[in-house]
């Protein structure tokens, strides 16, 4: 039997209106409100095993506690599918559905589908992590919306690939390979013509947005600071002991330079396929300037050079990888008491 649970807020769960918004979560055995419509949509091998109801304010005010409580209440029901909402245009309800869906997917591995109207602020917050069916504004469409949510949940459980236009959910932006009907050249000329004519057009590649971090404040003087050399040019000891990949690197390494004045070319190699690396192989200082940095140490322009240099390969790397590498390297250096980094890049 495929076990299905429905999550509703206080209103659709018939606890009351806004005055019941602070109600904590509880499980109802018998179907209420939309749950009755859901009962009529089930197939022979599906069973509606419970309705979880929680007040929108309760969830909004204590998101972690609410999510944990919901998790504890849902777990014994052993659901295969959870349908959350639909929340239509209700913001707090949408956030509750999104938060709960994410946690259920992660902690219980259960298939979760929710539903929202396009302007619900929770859409942009959760569309990448959770499948959100596109709904109308009015609860009059409840039955059809539930039908769509259930249909998608069944497909997801079967491992089918969903497509936004065909299946009626908000694109999660997940990349997948496909073959276009026309070659790229035709598409490039056609999109240009649309742009020139003032006709609508849509880019195939959406450029990434980068969150602006606040600039770290300047260091007054580096005379007493611990400075590290880091590179993404892929300089590694001969033999590449840490197996740093020459593109799409998932690893980074730290390499000893304690007491060394120079990097001997024969001791290093380059694991990076994106630039002609013979110049760096001839003289690694062209990438990792140990010689000049040591001079600065002697002259007192920097306090001390960290006794390792950090290296990875910045070529053709999915951005999620790069972000993780950066975070890990930064955390490592911080723990080592490094106060400034000179990062060299090809």
């Amino acid at each position: 039997m495929v076990r299905i649970v429905l999550y509703l807020n206080q209103f659709f769960g018939q606890l009351g209106g806004e005055e019941a918004a602070a109600e904590p979560p509880r499980v109802l055995a018998a179907p209420v409100g939309p749950g009755r419509a859901l009962t009529g949509l089930l197939e022979a091998d599906e069973a509606f095993v419970g309705t979880l109801v929680c007040g929108d304010s309760y969830f909004a005010d204590h998101p972690d506690a609410a999510a944990a409580a919901c998790l504890d209440l849902i777990r014994p029901l052993e659901p295969d599918i959870v349908l959350a909402g639909p929340a239509f245009n209700a913001g707090r309800y949408g956030v509750a559905c999104g938060t709960l869906a994410e946690i259920l997917q992660r902690e219980l591995g259960v298939t979760v589908v929710t539903g929202m109207y396009a302007e619900n602020p929770a859409v942009e917050l959760y569309r990448k992590q959770v499948v959100i069916v596109q709904t109308g504004l009015s609860a009059a469409t409840m039955r059809d919306t539930l039908r769509t949510m259930l249909t998608l949940a069944r497909k997801l459980r079967r491992g089918e690939t969903l497509m936004p236009e065909e299946h009626g959910y908000f694109s999660q932006g997940r990349a997948m390979p496909a073959i276009a009907e026309k070659p790229a050249a035709d598409r490039a000329v056609e999109i240009l013509l649309a742009k020139l004519r003032g006709e609508p057009y849509r880019t195939e590649v959406v450029l990434p947005t980068f969150r602006r971090n606040a600039a770290p404040s300047r260091l007054g003087d580096l005379r007493d600071k611990l400075v590290a050399l880091v590179t993404d040019g892929g300089l590694v000891p001969a033999g590449n002991p840490d197996n740093i990949e020459s593109f799409a690197a998932t690893r980074w390494g730290t390499y000893d330079i304690a007491g060394a004045e120079r990097l001997a070319p024969e001791d290093y190699e380059v694991s990076h396929g994106g630039y002609d690396n013979r110049f760096v192989r001839q003289d690694p200082h062209r990438l990792v300037p140990l010689d000049a940095a040591r001079q600065m140490e002697r002259d007192g322009q920097i306090g001390r050079l960290f006794d390792k240099f950090v290296s990875t390969t910045g070529l053709s790397n999915p951005i999620e990888n790069s972000r993780r590498l950066g975070r890990e390297i930064a955390e490592y250096l911080r723990q080592q008491g490094v106060q400034a980094v000179i990062l060299t890049s090809t």
Binding site: Q172, A175, A184, A185, D186, L192, V205, Y275, E320
Partner: protein, 415 residues
Amino acid sequence: MRLQLQFHDIQSLAFGSPATLDAGTLTVDADALRAALMTDPRIADVEVQLVDAHENCRIMSIYDVVQPRCKIEPAGADYPGALSGVRASGDGITRVLRGVALTVVAPIGGRRFLNLRPPHLRDTASQSFDRYAGLHHVVVLPTPADGVTGDDWRNALRMASLRAGVHLAQSADGGTADAEEVLELQPVSEDLPRVAYVYQLHSHQMPTVPGEPVLYGDNVRYLLPTIVHPNEVIDGGLLPSYNGSVAPTYAVQNNDIVKKLYALHGKELNFVGVVVYVANQLPAERDRATLMASNLVKYTLNADGAVFTKSGGGAPNVDMALIADRCEELGVKTSLIVWETIGEGDTEDSSLFNSDRLDAIVSLGSSHFQFTFDAAERVIGGSGPDPGSEFAATSSQSLGAIDQLGGSRFTVIRH
């Protein structure tokens, strides 16, 4: 400038002598072809094999794929600056053998493979996503003479690929063409939008070497942006660099941007010319190219719009984007073609540029997607334990999957 292409369609290949083209069958005289290639003393021996379109065959270590063509008028003016003197390109008459490719295989110097049966692509009817699987291939496998290595060997391979292509095309003497096409930029209505093609020829993240023929035999190492007629870049005046990171010679000869712009010339647009440039290594060179190329597009070609293609890996995205961005700043609308590095299921792309004005970008798919190819019955150029077995490879390793000149249909969709 007026170029007449005479097409001869090839339906099958066969070994035999003399070399002829008769009723769609190209008879290949292997000994004559070997002899022609071995006029270069750097080549010690040549093996020749024939492969049918869509055969259950895998060709490994491909150095280049060339469409067999030869100049009829002016006769002998093949690949000016590389194979012959710099006399002409883009004018006169060129014979083209269609449906066939001259494929050079070299374990040293070759890189990509071609599986003539399609790979498995989840949820999509299995179909070839590249143009090469549907061609008949005359495969040559040259062996270097003793002591011939490095750039010298790569030059020998380049010359061999051109020489072999010309040789095959010349063997079709005496036949009548199956079809003809004339490439000429006729004057058109001033109402039509003026569209330029901004063509990045090479990326010097891998610098070319002296003697490496790219544009009329020049190695374009310090090429300043300039303007050429589209016929010049498809009729032998332009070749890919040795490492072929823009596209094989076949794709350069059949540049799909040029084809598409020609097809719409006089109907929906006015194809005003091609700005060629290289992606540079040094910042000052890059700044210079940005200024000069965008100036050419705007003030010399007076273009309303421009289509951009690139070469190489990730860094040259920046060169292309800087020029395109300046074009947009000057009021010229742009569209760009890029390949992506996004992983399957990933939601963020790693494009190396970010500008609100660059909002018409076409995807060639991602180099990170993996495909599984079934075991092949026949393998050419493979070494190692079992080159014919089932294996997985990424799109960047498979010839023609990602054609930076826009000739491929592989793409990324987001769902």
